[in-house]
C-alpha cells in the first residue's frame, strides 16, 4: 500500500487526494457506463483503503489511456498518467496480469517488440520498397531520423503507412535515415501499463542508440512514440502530420486531385495529450478534390480508438465489460457524417478501425488511411 501511495504521489505531483469527487472523469470516460470503478470511485476507494477491491474488479485494465478524464479534471489530477498506471503497477507486482498483455510485455522485454519478432527483421518494411532506405549505422548522420516504432515496423497493415511516409520523404528529397535493427520499442504503452522499470530500461537503451548518431529531429507516425519521445525522452520530435504540414507549400504544388469525402480522427496522443489539432486538418484540406467533414465528436471531444495504453492487448478483459468497442462506435460516427475515408494520425488507429469496419459491416463503404497514405495518393495521382 505504501508503495502505491508513494507512486501516486510521484505520478500525480501529490494531487491525487485533491479530488473533489465531481464525477467529470467518469462522465467523460468512454467506458464510464460499464466500469465498476470510474476514476472518481477509484480515488475514493484508495482513500478508504479498498485498493484490492479495485484490482480484483479488473477496472484498472478497462482504460484505454485516452486522456479524456485527465484533460477535463477540474483539479488537474493526472489520472491517465498517474492513478491508472500506479494501480496497474500494483497488479503487475502481484502477478495479476491479463494474458495478452503478459505475452506482449514478455516479448518487449526479450525482443524489444510485442510481436515476438526478431530485432534483425525490424527494417523488413524498408526492404519492400523499390529504393534504399539508409540506416544510421551506415550513414551516421541525417537531417531526419524516421522512427516507425513497433507497429509501423512489423504489423502487416501498419507497414503500408510507414512505407507511404518513406516514399513521401523521398519525393520531398528529405535527407532521412532509420535505426533499423538498432531500434526498439519506445515504451509508451509499457509505461501506461505500469511497467515503469521496463519503460526506463527501454528509454536508457534507446537513448544510447540515439546518442550515437547526429540528426536534427525525429519523425514518427506513431502517436504514442511521439508522446514518449517528446515528453519523457526530451527529444526533438515531430509527428508526421507536423512534418507534412511543415512541407505543405512544397507538397501543394505536387498534389493531384482526389475524389474523397474525408473525416479526420483525432488520436488521443496527438490531440488531447499534445494539442495537435490543426496541422493534419490543414494538410487534408489542401488536397484538391477532397471534401472534408468533421466527426461530430472531434478535437478534445474525439472518441478513442481503444488501442492506447496497452488497450490493443487487453481486448479479452474489455470484452468482459463492454460489448461494443469504441472503434465500432467511431466508424459508425464516420458513416453518420457521410465520410468514405477515415484519415488517421496514429498507426494503431488503422487496424483498430479496419477491424471495426468488418464487425459493423461498413467494410467496403469506408476505408481507413494514414495521413501519409492520403498524401502519397495525392502525389502519385490518385
Amino acid at each position: 500500500m505504501d508503495m502505491l501511495l508513494n507512486r501516486l504521489k510521484e505520478l500525480t505531483n501529490n494531487k491525487y487526494f485533491q479530488c473533489i469527487q465531481c464525477g467529470t472523469c467518469g462522465g467523460s470516460c468512454p467506458y464510464g457506463a460499464y466500469t465498476p470503478y470510474t476514476p472518481r470511485r477509484m480515488i475514493l476507494a484508495i482513500r478508504l483503503g479498498m485498493v484490492e477491491d479495485i484490482l480484483n474488479s479488473n477496472a484498472q485494465w478497462l482504460c484505454t489511456a485516452c486522456q479524456t478524464c485527465t484533460s477535463r479534471c477540474p483539479s488537474r489530477i493526472q489520472i491517465t498518467d498517474g492513478i491508472i498506471p500506479a494501480l496497474r503497477e500494483k497488479s503487475l507486482l502481484e502477478g495479476k496480469v491479463p494474458e495478452e498483455l503478459s505475452t506482449a510485455l514478455i516479448n518487449i522485454m526479450r525482443y524489444g517488440n510485442p510481436f515476438k519478432e526478431s530485432p534483425m527483421k525490424r527494417d523488413g518494411w524498408a526492404k519492400e520498397l523499390d529504393f534504399e532506405v539508409p540506416t544510421m549505422m551506415k550513414k551516421k548522420s541525417a537531417e531526419v531520423l524516421l522512427l516507425p516504432e513497433c507497429f509501423g515496423a512489423y504489423h502487416r497493415r501498419c507497414k503500408q503507412a510507414t512505407k507511404a511516409l518513406a516514399k513521401v520523404m523521398k519525393i520531398l528529397e528529405v535527407d532521412f535515415a532509420i535505426l533499423g535493427r538498432e531500434e526498439r520499442c519506445t515504451g509508451d504503452h509499457v509505461r501506461l501499463c505500469g511497467e515503469f522499470a521496463l519503460f526506463e530500461d527501454l528509454m536508457e537503451k534507446n537513448m544510447k542508440v540515439f546518442r550515437k548518431y547526429e540528426f536534427k529531429y525525429i519523425v514518427t507516425h506513431d502517436a504514442h512514440a511521439f508522446n514518449a519521445l517528446k515528453n519523457f525522452y526530451g527529444l526533438n520530435v515531430l509527428h508526421h502530420s507536423q512534418f507534412l504540414h511543415d512541407n505543405l507549400e512544397k507538397l501543394k504544388g505536387m498534389f493531384n486531385e482526389l475524389d474523397y469525402t474525408v473525416t479526420y480522427h483525432d488520436s488521443c496522443y496527438l490531440g488531447r495529450k499534445n494539442g495537435i489539432y490543426e496541422e493534419p486538418r490543414e494538410v487534408i484540406r489542401s488536397i484538391p478534390g477532397v471534401r472534408f467533414v468533421e466527426f461530430k465528436r472531434n478535437r478534445e471531444n474525439a472518441l478513442c480508438c481503444g488501442a492506447g495504453g496497452g488497450g490493443i492487448w487487453l481486448d479479452s478483459v474489455m470484452r468482459e465489460f463492454v460489448k461494443v468497442r469504441p472503434a465500432e462506435d467511431r466508424v459508425r460516427e464516420a458513416k453518420e457524417v457521410g465520410a468514405d475515408v477515415i484519415v488517421t494520425g496514429c498507426v494503431l488507429d488503422i487496424p483498430m478501425f479496419e477491424d471495426a469496419l468488418k464487425v459493423t459491416g461498413l467494410d467496403g463503404e469506408i476505408v481507413v488511411k494514414d495521413i501519409a497514405e492520403l498524401v502519397l495518393e495525392a502525389l502519385e495521382g490518385g
Binding site: 503497477e89 503487475l92 507486482l93 502477478g95 496480469v97 494474458e99 498483455l101 503478459s102 505475452t103 510485455l105 514478455i106 522485454m109 526479450r110 525482443y111 515476438k116 519478432e117 526478431s118 530485432p119 534483425m120 511497467e195 515503469f196 522499470a197 521496463l198 530500461d201
Partner: protein
C-alpha cells in the same frame, strides 16, 4: 509436498540460427518454452498444496554462465521458487537418455517433478519419460493440470478435445505441455531483485557416453516451388483450372 521443476535453455529461433553441417549455432539462447509452462504449473501446484518448490536448471558446461539460464532461474525465484539448483553437464549431448542418466541421482528427493514435454534441441524430447524410467517413477506426459486431494490427480490432453484425469502414484515425473494458467509476466523490477537475491547451488555432473546416435548433418530442407497467380478474378479462375488440370485434379 516436495516439488521439483526443471528448466533448460534452447536456441532462440526468434533471433535466428546459423546451420552448419555438424551443428546449429544460435545467436542467443532463451528459456525453453515448455519448461516455462512446467515451472508455471509447479508454481500453481505449490500454491495449491503449500509445498516446497525447488527449481533445477540443466545446462551444458559451455553455457553454464549464459544469461538465458540466469534469467530462467531468476524468473523461477521471482515467481515463488523456494530454492534453486543448477546442474552443469560436463559435455553437450542431444541424447536425453544420456542426460537422464547424468542427472537421475539429483531427482530422488522429490514427490513430483515437472518438466516441459519437449525442447527443440533434443533428438526426441521426453527427458521426463526417460528420467522416470531411470528412477522407476510414475510418468504422465501431455499434462495440462495438476491437483492434490491427498494423492496426485493429473489432467492430460488426450487429443481430439478429450482430457483425461488420472490418479498418479508418487514419486512422479510429469511432462507438462501447457500450464493451467498463462505464463505470468514478471516485472523487470522483480526480475532484477531476484537476480540480486537468488542463491543457486551449482552441481557438476558427468554425462555417460551411451552411443547409438551420431549427427550425420544438419540442413534446411529444399523449399517447395511457389507459383504466385496474378490477375483479375476471371484470369485467376482460368489459371487455377490450368493448375488443377496439370495436377490431374480435373
Amino acid at each position: 509436498m516436495r516439488i521439483g521443476a526443471i528448466v533448460r535453455i534452447v536456441p532462440d529461433l526468434v533471433m535466428g540460427i546459423e546451420i552448419e553441417e555438424s551443428e546449429i549455432v544460435p545467436f542467443k539462447y532463451v528459456p525453453n518454452e515448455r519448461d516455462e509452462h512446467a515451472l508455471e504449473e509447479a508454481v500453481v501446484f505449490k500454491e495449491k498444496t503449500g509445498g516446497n518448490l525447488e527449481v533445477v536448471g540443466i545446462v551444458d558446461d559451455e553455457l553454464r554462465d549464459d544469461e538465458a539460464m540466469e534469467e530462467a532461474l531468476a524468473l523461477a525465484y521471482a515467481k515463488g521458487a523456494d530454492s534453486l539448483k543448477k546442474i552443469v553437464l560436463n559435455r553437450r549431448t542431444f541424447d536425453r537418455r544420456e542426460v537422464a542418466r547424468a542427472i537421475a541421482d539429483h531427482f530422488k528427493d522429490y514427490d513430483v517433478v515437472m518438466v516441459g514435454i519437449q525442447s527443440i534441441d533434443s533428438f526426441a524430447g521426453y527427458l521426463g519419460g526417460i528420467l522416470s524410467g531411470v528412477l522407476g517413477y510414475s510418468y504422465v506426459g501431455g499434462v495440462v493440470g495438476v491437483d492434490y486431494d491427498g494423492g496426485l490427480i493429473v489432467q492430460k490432453e488426450l487429443g481430439g478435445g478429450v482430457v483425461g484425469k488420472f490418479r498418479v502414484k508418487t514419486p512422479a515425473i510429469l511432462g507438462v505441455v501447457s500450464a493451467e494458467r498463462p505464463i505470468t509476466f514478471v516485472p523487470l523490477v522483480k526480475l532484477r531483485q531476484a537476480m540480486k537475491e537468488m542463491k543457486v547451488e551449482e552441481i557438476e555432473v558427468e554425462v555417460p557416453d551411451m552411443g547409438g546416435i551420431e549427427v550425420v548433418r544438419f540442413y534446411e530442407p529444399e523449399k517447395p516451388e511457389i507459383t504466385l497467380l496474378e490477375g483479375d478474378v476471371e484470369e485467376l479462375a482460368d489459371k487455377l483450372v490450368e493448375v488443377f488440370k496439370s495436377l490431374s485434379l480435373v
